[in-house]
């Protein structure tokens, strides 16, 4: 569950970023790429936290149900935000690719 969409996203970022921004400033490309990868790691860790919380709740651990549900919802929302960012990037890439010189 947590592996599949994340793999999509990191492949996507490698390709357009390195080809487009090479001419201008590699430092900006580098920091943006690392920022994106950090965000993906953050989303992934939130998913894993939510998974652990659900597991603890299902096995009768000492966890507050409200906290578990909040963790699940936070993971869900941050995943959707990441998905939306990825869609926008794909869209931007396609627009740039369609520019006729």
């Amino acid at each position: 569950m947590s592996q599949l969409p994340i793999a999509n996203l990191s492949q996507l970022i490698q390709a357009p970023m390195t080809t487009q921004m090479q001419g201008t400033s590699p430092e900006i490309a580098e920091s943006f790429k690392s920022f994106m990868l950090q965000s993906i790691d953050h989303v992934n860790s939130m998913q894993q936290d939510a998974d652990v919380a659900v597991q603890t709740l299902a096995t009768g651990g000492d966890v507050n149900p409200a906290e578990v549900l909040t963790a699940v919802q936070k993971a869900d929302m941050s995943f959707r935000m990441m998905m939306q960012i990825r869609n926008k990037l794909v869209q931007a890439f396609q627009e740039i690719r369609d520019i006729r010189i």
Binding site: N64, P65, A66, L69, T70, V72, Q73
Partner: protein
């Protein structure tokens, strides 16, 4: 949230026990013989509640349990009935029959209080359940 239900349940069970004692008192208002058949007038019973140490949440909220069922030890009331087969043969109360002395008003008041407590605990359980349902709305 889940253990609040257990605490309310313990209260429901305790109040029901109390109501049972009260209804047995009222039912036996005129019983001049006890359960073994001896000629001893019925004595009113009452329950003693105690905060239950076993049913405790992490933050100290405690449930309730019935510690014991005590018998009230008061003098029976005597009515003069010399021709009654169970009249006392001799002594100070010769010719009298011993009847239980149950204060009906007090029993009824206790019953009302027990009913109100029962309803209040059911109300608390409703609130606890609705808290749980509202929590599920976090997930929208």
């Amino acid at each position: 949230m889940i253990s609040a239900l257990d605490i309310s349940t313990s209260a429901l069970v305790a109040q029901r026990t109390r109501l049972n004692a009260i209804s047995s008192n009222l039912a036996n208002m005129s019983s001049i013989r006890d359960e073994n058949g001896d000629v001893k007038p019925f004595k009113a019973r009452y329950v003693v509640f105690q905060a239950d140490d076993q049913l405790k949440t992490a933050h100290g909220a405690m449930g309730v349990r019935v510690a014991s069922v005590e018998t009230e030890d008061i003098e029976p009331q005597y009515k003069y009935e010399p021709n009654h087969p169970f009249a006392i043969k001799d002594g100070k109360w010769k010719g009298h029959v011993a009847y239980p002395k149950i204060n009906m008003v007090r029993e009824f008041t206790d019953a009302m209080e027990a009913t109100r407590a029962y309803e209040a605990n059911i109300g608390v359980m409703e609130i606890t359940k609705s808290l749980g349902q509202q929590t599920l709305r976090i997930l929208a």
